[in-house]
Amino acid sequence: MAKLIGDLSRRDLLKSTALVAAGAVAAPAIVSRANAQSKFDWKRYKGEKIDVMLVKTPRGDLLQQHEKEFTELTGIEVSSEQIPEQQQRQKAMIEFTSGRPTFDVCMLALHVQKRLSYKGKWTDDLRPLINNPEMTNPDFDVADFGEAGMNFATQADGVINTLPHFVDFWMLYYNKELFAAKGVEYPKSMDEIITAASKLNDPSKGVYGFVSRGLKNANIPVWTSWLLGQGLETIDPKTGKLNTDGPEAVWAGEFYRKLNKEFAPPGTIGFNWNECQTSFMQGRAAMWLDGIGFATPLEDPTKSKVVGKVGYGITPPGPKAHHSAIFADGLGIAQMSKKKGPAWYYIQWATNKENQLRMLKAGAGAPARQSPFKNPEGTQSKTFAKDYFDCMAGSGKIGRPGLPQIIPVTEFRDIFGVALTNTLSGADVAAELKKATETFKPVLEKSEQG
């Protein structure tokens, strides 16, 4: 490992020198030379063309920006497109089940599609490719992928049908200026979030203590974040038992309701990430619980009024446990693809150390590999303060899935999302969760039957 990292930074060093000296042409050449003696040949699929379907995110942007580099390296043409999350999932579902997908590589939201993709035989097991030295670049280093991401990508029977690309940690954004003005410290426990929010809440000035998603579906991770504070996932990963209407779930629901009703801007019941982001960016909310992947625009002066004032805090510990809800995206090869070789080359490139480092440097979210965090270059940033990287690293150590690893995730999010929204308009938390659990139970049972 140490040697590999050494290699990497030396290569990067060379690369940046080359950049300064003579433009951006040097890097691929060096990579090719580095592999000259191995059996692996980057140019094996020269002249082929593949289709890639990505989700519209800053990470998709990065991959598209550097596509040329892949083509120079391999001679493979890439036709890629980014589609917004919701439609991309729908398209993946439709095209995979139609048996004629129009893409060779597809990005999947593993927190939603992990089990679905395996059951539907959407993507290939990547292990034979990873273990084949003729197909996999010796520098690739699978062991470098962090545990959180790899767990998402690995099915119960050990099949790895995607490689993790990005891991999202849920954390607490806070506005340092507002905190300082009221002399409030960053909350050390979930209960302290409430005390802090009540001190910071100042509706007469249009400033609210706390904001998080209220819109159904989107609001589930907020609730599961609190539930993780009780040491529980919504569905026990080992026994498959639903923990959604027990005292812990009700506590988390009450907590969710209290924050979103008493200290949040009016209308949060319909807020998705983008309304929350807008409020926070304009300095109108003191705290915002969401994924760290949403940080980029906060530090962009053309978009945000809180540049340099954002604090990045790890989700505070709950009454019984301290966890961060995690989510992950992965890249897989369509089973129906006729260009599996070039597709695998693309995935290797997209998830290589250099691209993962780029993701971290650009503030486009947390890469699935560990090496970028160990690379000083990765965590030295003009845009992001140290606590941003500390928050990622710290969250990574306490990560647990923010959504249940089941097939009907969409139904789960819909049914419980509605229940949570109902509590915001006055319904009883325990009764709503009980009702939702009863509705969902048969759906879950049916999905597990086959």
Partner: protein
């Protein structure tokens, strides 16, 4: 607008000289020869409209999930639907939305037509401006509306604050979401009603007004007893078209509220979309379509009936 009455007037004059009779003196019955004209359309309609209907009926009695097997389950989907409280709520939301989404544009559109029928400076230009929303692509405009509704930072609450009205939560509150969506629908479709009624106004005869003025009638009386009855057939058309389109409304609800908050604006269309393209329950979704279809058939028969009636009255 002088050409507006042309098609109705010209042929009658031209046709007057000759009567279409057979040598035996009986009128020709050509009706049987005309069905040929409808054959191409019938073929296309059969393929893209009638086939989907039949196929939907077939699917509605199956337990069919995308990626899974197909099992015949008879009426089971319908039984489940009837017990599905979310579906019942969706029907009420649809009714609520449709009633408001028909009544408001028809009233406002008629009023607008009366205004634009008068001569005033820049009338042509202002009328074009007024009609513009009708052309706007609903998805695109809806996304902009959604941002305008932001309770903290939306421009609408700002404008309200200028005239001293407190902020509204618009689509971010279960109680105001449907009226707010109707507001967008009104913005979109009032122009169409206005155009239809304006067309009616253009063809109104002058004589009744002249004699009414002589009789000393005031403006309201003339509107109530002359204009309104003469316009009624046009208002009826507008009513029918609005009912059809309000019932079909999907884009703006889907984009602005996605049926939320919670399920507060989940209409039958949104419910259908969720079942079909989020949960991929093809059988269940088809059952929704079949029920919707039943309502549509009933409604169109009712409309045809009223159309006949309004025709006699006109």
């Amino acid at each position: 607008m002088s050409q507006t009455t042309a098609p109705a007037a010209v042929p009658r004059d031209l046709a007057a000289p000759r009567a279409a009779t057979t040598p035996s003196g009986k009128p020709h019955d050509f009706s049987r020869k005309y069905w040929v004209f409808a054959v191409p359309a019938a073929v296309v309609i059969g393929a893209v409209i009638v086939f989907p209907w039949l196929f939907t009926v077939f699917m509605s009695v199956q337990d069919w999930k995308v990626g899974g097997g197909i099992d015949y389950v008879g009426m089971e989907n319908f039984r489940q639907l009837m017990a599905d409280t979310r579906f019942q709520e969706a029907m009420w939301h649809t009714l609520y939305f449709t009633v408001l989404g028909v009544a408001l544009p028809v009233v406002l559109g008629t009023a607008a037509a009366l205004v634009f029928h008068r001569e005033f400076p820049f009338r042509g230009f202002l009328r074009t401006v007024f009609v513009m929303p009708m052309m706007a692509t609903p998805v695109a405009v809806s996304l902009v509306w959604k941002m305008m509704f932001h309770p903290q930072l939306g421009v609408l609450n700002y404008l309200l604050s200028l005239v001293g009205i407190g902020p509204s939560e618009w689509v971010f509150n279960p109680n105001t979401v449907i009226p707010t969506l109707v507001l967008v629908e009104v913005w979109h479709w009032t122009p169409l009603v206005m155009l239809i009624v304006l067309g009616g106004l253009a063809g109104l005869p002058k004589e009744p007004y002249e004699s009414a003025v002589i009789d000393g009638a005031n403006g309201w009386h003339m509107f109530r007893y002359i204009t309104l009855p003469l316009l009624w057939p046009f208002i009826m058309i507008a009513l029918i078209i609005r009912t059809i389109d309000a019932l079909k409304a999907f884009d703006i609800i889907f984009v602005i509220s996605e049926g939320g908050p919670g399920t507060a604006s989940e209409t039958m269309n949104i419910f259908l979309y969720l079942q079909a393209f989020q949960f991929y329950k093809i059988g269940y979704a088809s059952a929704v379509v079949v029920i919707f279809f039943g309502i549509v058939v009933a409604l169109s028969l009712l409309l045809l009936y009223t159309r006949q009636k309004s025709k006699w009255n006109a």
